[in-house]
């Protein structure tokens, strides 16, 4: 199962929950399952997040393949200067 953690700012959309486990082959599939449980997350996941997969940060790419035991951390969208 893919382990998914959310950063604190998303807890307002998930009834305070921040740890999940899904069977999902891509980040996209993880997003779909999260949105199914918490529809309020949809605009956030569409526009405002980056995702770290086993430590590698993906700023936009959601069709990244995931290992069965992958660890995802959903972060805010990052911006530099």
């Amino acid at each position: 199962m893919v382990k998914v953690s959310l950063w604190g700012g998303l807890r307002e959309f998930t009834d305070g929950n921040s740890e999940f486990e899904f069977s999902a082959p891509t980040i996209h599939k993880v997003f779909l399952q999260l949105i199914e449980q918490y529809p309020g997350l949809e605009p956030e996941l569409e526009n405002n997040v980056s995702v770290a997969v086993d430590g590698q940060i993906y700023r936009d790419s959601i069709f990244v393949s995931l290992d069965e035991e992958a660890e995802l951390f959903i972060l805010p969208k990052l911006q530099g200067g």
Partner: protein, 752 residues
């Protein structure tokens, strides 16, 4: 498929790692280079902005009758000239032009286009605006008070559950961390808690904002402007003026610095709106005062940091709360600061929370590693104080607690390959740190962290008929990226550096490119160029296979030549790129390579700084006597430019630490909107910054490149504060540590 000689490599470079002359050097030193204000168009008008003299005021009415009656005035635009925009662009539009309320002194209220600058200035003064002055707030803590004047009646803090029932000036809250902070502090032998403040610093680019916009009768339009991201200018202006992106072509001028401050639009939509109204080109250039009052700066802040440690030097818990002032519109800088707060450390129990706070100040803009230097000042000051209490060398203390591969970062994910330990060890072993401290001086150090980014990238690489190569990229060259692009293309193709020219193409010539920010350009453009070169090489091998009448997989590319390979390839003289290029008409037409990618895998970076300072206890003036930056570049494509990035970041950090800062009066008006009173460091203020490049290849890039543009501004504030503490025994908790501030602290310290 043809074979290509070592497209991905971490050693054995021929061009990469050398220091050729910069391709834009002659134009820049001769004054030939064209910056934002250096272009003209037939029939061009001059645009000027009327700005609010009040920090917070309701706009009751705007009467343009007298201004429009002035001979030579062609058009005036106000908020009424802009329609509804998508939610994502609302703050940008309302910052570009005040809608209903002026939210800071300098906020644009109207813009004029006139025949010349003199008429435009007169016209601005003839616009009659009736204001209802409202109470204002410019201080971050005052803005959070229950009775603070509200900037936006409809602002309910996001990021907290349950959602607040009352509006406030706190735009958003963010929280990062893991473990149990109370348990961590319970295990500590020493707990230190300190509060810090920092003032806003401007990015301080020498070139003010400038643009020339032309809106044609056929609906097509063009903008020439100084920007870090002309694709961003295109998309934003298209949204604000409700025009198709394909109808707007934006060309980036040469840029005289940006540092994050030119990642937003200010004048461009106004010039375009004025051009649409007049049918004439409109040029606009900001004064320095306008730059200070209406653009940038970074956040001011108040912070609380609490760290617990055992007597043997293990950090058991780190806690921090950040209040970052984000100007009149919301931001994300406190969030980034909270993410970076403890990123250098391997902690079982950590928490960092941040509030973005609205005030009657200009909308904050990114400034080189946005948010990170501010909290780094606070955390690294406490770390330094703890090292002192424990009697452990500051670098050894950091090494004992340094984050490593596989550790969970304080902002969430586990670290992939990182080079913090190597960076700290290199700093410890550096001749600067090993040298005894000179008499009358004192030493400080700090370490900092920053993310690096990749992003959307589209490039084109054309092989010309003489065998030279032109590379078109879509990100403005701020820090010398054209040289690095030429080097990587030359390396991949196996041709001389001098045979490659890189240009910055306009928005109609390439697919979307993310802005030059986030330390992304050399990483992402370079990755795409190497892939595009690969495509061109395969095409050239195919052409040669035709000429030799052998299969394409019997041709290999080695050091810039197509050669036969394999037992049945035959015996042919190697064919160079010039010869292949000469035959393009006969072999199938022009040869080019392209690559379009969302470049991921940039990799985070760390920087360790060492400073020797001398403090004049009679004046409170701090002199930087020696300063060293140690940082991982992955692979330095052009080491001089990498050193320049390290040096530039350090000097900007030194200025922020010692002098720079917005000063507001009780009237909410900025008191120092000019370089005489907002004092940036000049050459005589700093020694030659020593730059030590570490190269731990980034596996996300074919040549190992890691971004280097931002991390170097993160540690200087704390580095200098720690050195001042060593010199005076005073732990400064306020930035800037300007002479009057430090002198006062010294005098109070002497009184006991």
């Amino acid at each position: 498929m043809a074979k290509i000689d070592r497209l991905e490599k971490t050693d054995g470079f021929r061009v990469v790692g050398t220091r050729p002359d910069r391709p834009d050097g002659v134009d820049k030193v001769t004054g030939r280079a064209r910056f934002g204000a250096d272009t003209f168009a037939p029939g061009m008008l001059i645009g000027k902005v009327l700005r609010s003299p009040h920090p917070h005021a309701r706009i009751v009415s705007i009467d343009t009758t007298k201004a429009m009656a002035l001979h030579g005035v062609k058009a005036i635009v106000t908020a009424q000239d802009f329609g509804e925009v998508p939610r994502a662009h609302k703050a940008t539009l309302h910052n570009v032009m005040a809608h209903g309320k002026a939210l800071y002194e300098g906020h644009a209220v109207a813009a004029v286009a006139a025949a010349d600058v003199s008429i435009a200035r007169k016209a601005v003064k003839l616009i009659d605006v009736e204001y209802e002055i409202l109470p204002h707030v410019t201080d971050v803590d005052a803005a959070m008070a229950q009775d603070a004047p509200l900037l936006h009646e409809d602002n309910f803090t996001s990021g907290i559950d349950p959602k607040p029932e009352k509006p406030s000036n706190i735009d958003s809250f963010s929280e990062f961390g893991h473990g149990n902070i109370e348990d961590g502090f319970a295990k500590a032998d020493i707990i230190l808690e300190r509060e810090f403040t920092t003032e806003a610093a401007h990015q301080g680019y020498i070139e003010p904002h400038a643009c020339l916009a032309t809106f044609s009768e056929d609906g097509n339009s063009e903008i020439w402007c100084t920007t870090q991201g002309h694709f961003l200018v295109r998309d934003t202006c298209a949204a604000l003026l409700d025009i198709a992106e394909s109808r707007l072509r934006v060309t980036a001028s040469e840029i005289g610095g940006g540092f994050g401050g030119k990642t937003v639009v200010y004048l461009e939509p106004l010039a375009l709106a004025l051009s649409r109204k007049t049918g004439r080109p409109v040029k606009m250039v900001m004064s320095r005062s306008e730059v200070f009052r209406a653009t940038g700066p970074t956040s001011s802040s108040s912070m609380r940091v609490k760290i617990g440690v055992t007597n043997d030097g293990k950090i058991t818990a780190g806690d921090a709360h950040l209040n970052y002032q984000s100007g009149a519109f919301g931001g994300f800088i406190a969030m980034l600061g909270a993410m970076c707060a403890y990123a250098c450390y391997s902690l079982e129990n950590v928490r960092a929370t941040g509030d973005e706070v609205l005030t009657n100040r200009p909308m904050q803009a990114s400034y080189r590693a946005p948010g990170a230097p501010i909290i780094n000042f606070a955390v690294e000051s406490v770390i330094d104080e703890l090292a002192g209490k424990l009697g452990i060398d500051p670098i050894d203390f950091r090494l004992m607690n340094a984050a490593k591969e596989g550790d969970r970062s304080s902002y969430g994910p586990k670290y992939d390959q990182i080079g913090l330990v190597k960076t700290l060890e290199s700093a410890r072993d550096h001749p600067h740190y090993q040298a005894p401290v000179a008499e009358g001086q004192a030493r400080g150090m700090a370490v900092g962290f920053w993310f690096n980014f990749g992003g959307l990238t589209s490039i084109s690489l054309n092989v010309n008929t003489d065998g030279t190569v032109t590379v078109s990229v879509g990100r403005p060259d701020i820090g010398g990226s054209r040289a690095a692009m030429c080097q990587m293309a030359a390396e991949a193709l196996g041709i001389p550096y001098e045979n490659v020219r890189t240009i910055i193409a306009d928005t109609s010539s390439l697919g979307f490119n993310d802005t030059t920010d986030g330390s992304r350009t050399t990483f992402a453009n370079g990755l795409a160029i190497i892939r595009a070169a690969q495509g061109a090489i395969l095409e050239m091998c195919g052409r040669v296979a035709k000429i030799w009448d052998i299969p394409q997989d019997a041709v290999e590319w080695v050091d810039g030549f197509a050669k036969p390979c394999g037992p049945n390839a035959g015996d042919f003289e190697p064919m160079g790129i010039a010869e292949i290029a000469r035959k393009t008409a006969q072999t199938g037409g022009p040869i080019a390579g392209h690559h379009e990618v969302n470049a991921e895998g940039a990799g985070v970076s760390f920087s360790a700084h060492i400073a020797d300072v001398k403090v004049d206890e009679e004046t409170g003036c701090t002199q930087i006597c020696r300063y060293t930056v140690v940082q991982d570049a992955g692979k330095a494509i052009h080491p001089s430019y990498v050193e320049g990035q390290y040096q530039g970041g350090a000097v900007q950090g030194i200025g922020w630490a010692l002098n720079e800062g917005y000063i507001y009066g009780d009237d909410g008006i900025m008191q120092n909107p000019g370089f005489l009173d907002y004092r940036m460091p000049v050459c005589s203020d700093v020694p030659m910054i020593e730059a030590k490049i570490i190269e731990i290849p980034n596996k996300g890039h074919p040549y190992g490149v890691r971004g280097v543009g931002e991390t170097s501004i993160v540690p200087p504030l704390a580095t200098i504060a720690n050195a001042i503490c060593s010199a005076t025994g005073i732990r400064m908790t306020q930035i800037p540590m300007a002479p009057p501030v430090l002198l006062k602290a010294i005098e109070e310290h002497k009184k006991g």
